[in-house]
Assembly symmetry: C2
Homo-oligomer: 350 residues x 2
Amino acid sequence: MTTDRSGNNDPAELRNFNEEELFAGISGALALRPKIEQIVDEIWNSGFDGIYFTGIGGTYASAMQAEVYMRGRSGLPVYAENAAEFITTGRKRFTSRSIVICSSVSGTTKEMLAMAEKAHTLGARIFAFVDTPATPLAETADWVISYPQNEQLKFYMTCSYLMYLNHEFDDYSEYCRQMEQYLAEGLVNVEKESDAWARAYAEKTAADLKQNPDMPHYFIASGNQYGAAYSCAMCYWAEQLWIKSICVSAQEFFHGMLEIITGNVPVTLFVGEDEQRPLAERVARFLPRVSENYVIIDTRDYAMTGIDEKYRGTVSHLIMRSVMNRVDAWLEYELDHSRSIRRYYRRFDY
Amino acid sequence: MTTDRSGNNDPAELRNFNEEELFAGISGALALRPKIEQIVDEIWNSGFDGIYFTGIGGTYASAMQAEVYMRGRSGLPVYAENAAEFITTGRKRFTSRSIVICSSVSGTTKEMLAMAEKAHTLGARIFAFVDTPATPLAETADWVISYPQNEQLKFYMTCSYLMYLNHEFDDYSEYCRQMEQYLAEGLVNVEKESDAWARAYAEKTAADLKQNPDMPHYFIASGNQYGAAYSCAMCYWAEQLWIKSICVSAQEFFHGMLEIITGNVPVTLFVGEDEQRPLAERVARFLPRVSENYVIIDTRDYAMTGIDEKYRGTVSHLIMRSVMNRVDAWLEYELDHSRSIRRYYRRFDY
């Protein structure tokens, strides 16, 4: 089963969907480009020995996506770092000439503040995207951009300009032109196009869960889709919807996890369009042979008019997030469970 | 509940346990030191711009353990790499002056051979531990050591000597003396000491699974225990025992996965002794407040006579593996399921 784009395309009927707001949100993030470029220019001109995209939980997933975007393309020393590991293990190669790039919605996450303090103690500088201004992380950072949501896009914009400065992105201007002209509309359309399919998928998932609430749901993905699946399993399904969801990379799936996939074990495979696509395609060929309960979401099924084939891999994780936005909106409805309720997180000290 | 070391300590009654063989296996690995040092000397003298511990599946878990061992201690450019990601995304910073260090039991794993071919095409050199001599990986590598099992130990021996050469391990000789004198006996004793507890744990786990075979089992760990939990969940429990097991890091657990831990959801926490121990301890404090079905395995409960406190963190993942060896032996028995059977892996092409 792949995405079926027929059916309801009337935005008025899409649950928790505000087309204007969504469009404006993405457009506004893209419009941060001059600010991002100015900050990256300052970082560039003052020199650095390493750039550490640092996060925890969902922001760590975004950090992994930034790192894998640059890994094959850039000679720059760019790494993904986990805030809690940085606090404990640290990193001997991290110095006063290192740069932390991070993002936070609240600006108050405990591990992120401790990470920032340690980074500053070592003399390093911090470039933070903080959704909420005048919060501790925003106030401690050396450079701040306060703009809500679109974390992954903000990270990728930063990465793209870094590669441009390093002479690794000759067509940066054309790339930005296409993004600025087409990305917002394209992603809005993905939500509209996927909604009817997403509702059916949510219904099926909810029905499965009613039958067997303890059965885990497996997400499989690679490349920048791995971060998408990781945050989907952990931040959305487990944290918000209390579903026992698991994320495994496509390459690692074949070295262990495959053995537990039989008949009705639910599997969702994310297929993206970056250079790790073949790893997911291998899983796509395998699943029909062993499973009767799998779903393949392939970002190639979505038009993204105006964006060249060669650039699609850099936004396919955003396409997937748009599809999953629709799924999550309907899952909340089908499970009759508010996504804003937490059992434990920030409800007591631990 | 922590490990209870009372009960059966008669090795004759330990399932799948051959004390002499185990002792000789570890001692033999430690005796590889002159060979490892000679190879690392050659690598050191010819220079390098990066050392990439590279694996897939279980060997990737070991690569992550090697990287986290050196991350906080060493200024050397040492990274963990996944063979399948290296083949697809690659790594622009990987050059003809880069070194791959890898390990393989079979010497025939598809992704490892493709990784080696690509590394060689780029002019890089490969140091491979291959259990089985005269296999393709052993034949293509620039340096080979063929010795069975003890992969993690062989990697850590390599790491330790690299740090010694980089003037980051002043007490290397004393460290090696303690390992060579006490590690094999210590780990043999861990298996004996943990066996009775492991059998009870296996019985309980098997009983839970009989009641609810689809309920996932959560492993939580950090530092070098993360690789231990990763391979336990994926290579042992999922692949060999067909249990729906999941591994999540202690730091990430608090940013999503915690919400699904209620009453009877089974959780096993690995607490080790490296610098990330506090991350696991935080989970240890949290679990009693939300769970009625958790187990904490703390490597500190095992004596490891003769090994200084300050060195224990470098072997606590081996202690955990010894405990889990006992658990897995008894789980095989309790589940009446041979660990050597695979549904899919290497049974057909995919």
